[in-house]
């Protein structure tokens, strides 16, 4: 699916060629006029969740818990929360009722892990709990189980403001994520910021470019026909600019997740969000 834009831009269009001089001049003027707007972070008041860029039909799907397909994963996660691996306690065995113990947790992840000296995301936190406390094999990235458990935990914080990145120990990693966000990469030589800071609200092929606030992960993408993590989303975007996607769980991926969450600080969590 992510190959579509290049294919469309690549096809020759005679009309575009004859007008190229005009558009070249117009683009130059636009760049000069708007220079101060480029590479600038979105001001706090202008920030909008991806929900705001969707059609009314997709918004309605997200808002109705009986129509939101992400809720299937939340239900699945609830069953897994109570399900004990062989010879170990279940998540509920230690943490009890997730509605109380997990409330607000997802809003502060990725969070600093003192044992590792760096931030870890919610999926990694769940897997650490599995390997260190439950002595069970960690769940692979993007498996039904890991996405379901993460969605269930994150759903407990729905509506709460994002607080990730406020810990002082985590500042250098927020900055590393910001550097990654602003770094041009791939064959298209694009940074995340060039689309999501500078050109949000405009269209890329048929789709609106949103502001890239990770407010609803794990989220249900209609394009994927499944629930997926923020890391999966970042990998698709990386692939879209023809760069080599980072491996699941790579420190840079987590830094980028952390920067995006910090960038969306104060915005309410929507897990499980629905996106086109």
């Amino acid at each position: 699916m992510t190959l579509a834009p290049l294919r469309e831009w690549g096809e020759g269009n005679p009309a575009a060629v004859s007008h190229s001089a005009f558009f070249g001049a117009a683009t130059f003027l636009m760049i000069v006029c708007c220079f101060n707007l480029f590479a600038a972070e979105i001001s706090q008041n202008d920030r909008r969740s991806g929900t705001a860029f969707m059609t009314r039909e997709t918004q309605a799907m997200q808002q109705d818990d009986r129509a939101n397909p992400g809720m299937l994963a939340v239900l699945d996660g609830e069953a897994l929360w109570k399900d004990a691996p062989p010879g170990a306690k279940s998540c509920a065995g230690c943490h009890g009722d997730a509605a109380a113990s997990m409330k607000g947790v997802a809003a502060r992840y990725p969070a600093f892990d003192p044992a590792r000296g760096r931030p870890i995301d919610l999926e990694q936190r769940i897997n650490l709990c599995r390997s260190e406390r439950q002595h069970a094999p960690p769940l692979s990235w993007e498996t039904r189980e890991l996405n379901a458990l993460t969605a269930y935990v994150a759903n407990q914080s729905r509506g709460m403001p994002i607080t990730a990145g406020t810990d002082e120990r985590i500042r250098p990693f927020v900055e590393a994520g910001r550097a990654l966000f602003n770094r041009r990469q791939g064959q298209l030589d694009l940074s995340c910021a060039q689309c999501h800071d500078d050109n949000w609200g405009k269209h890329l092929a048929g789709s609106v470019v949103p502001q890239a606030h990770p407010t609803g992960y794990p989220e249900y993408r209609l394009e994927w026909q499944s629930i997926g993590s923020l890391q999966r989303r970042l990998r698709s975007c990386t692939f879209g600019v023809r760069a080599e996607p980072l491996a699941y769980g790579a420190p840079e991926q987590v830094d980028l997740e952390l920067y995006l969450m910090w960038r969306a600080r104060g915005m309410p969590l929507e897990t499980p969000a629905v996106r086109p």
Binding site: L72, A73, L75, S226
Partner: protein, 106 residues
């Protein structure tokens, strides 16, 4: 694990048209795809959905491979009397999935 979400109004007036919404988790594997080794992935879909109102069939749908994963099916029926609405999804593989909901008609 197959999860289903159904939305049936708990109360309705006699003769009123009520909307029933259903959502079920299922991959809806088409049977036309191949894995990374080139081997075909066998078809695995929900092929039939039936709704019964106090035992009487009020809605039926045949599903086909082009239908997206996690099918969302919604339909209207007339609230006739209090009782049970039973929804059944029949799968290519495995036992049918059934969910019931009670409705009170005044």
């Amino acid at each position: 694990v197959t999860q289903a979400l159904v939305n049936v109004p708990a109360k309705a007036k006699r003769g009123e048209a009520i909307e029933i919404k259903t959502l079920i988790s299922h991959p809806m594997e088409t049977g036309y795809r191949h894995d990374t080794n080139g081997a075909p992935i066998p078809r695995d879909i929900i092929h039939t959905f039936v709704a019964r109102y106090n035992g009487e069939e009020v809605f039926r749908a045949d599903l086909h491979p082009a239908i997206a994963a996690n099918p969302f099916i919604t339909f209207f029926t007339v609230a006739t009397e209090s009782g049970v609405i039973e929804l059944t999804w029949t799968l290519d593989h495995g036992d049918p999935v059934t969910q019931t909901a009670n409705i009170t008609v005044e």
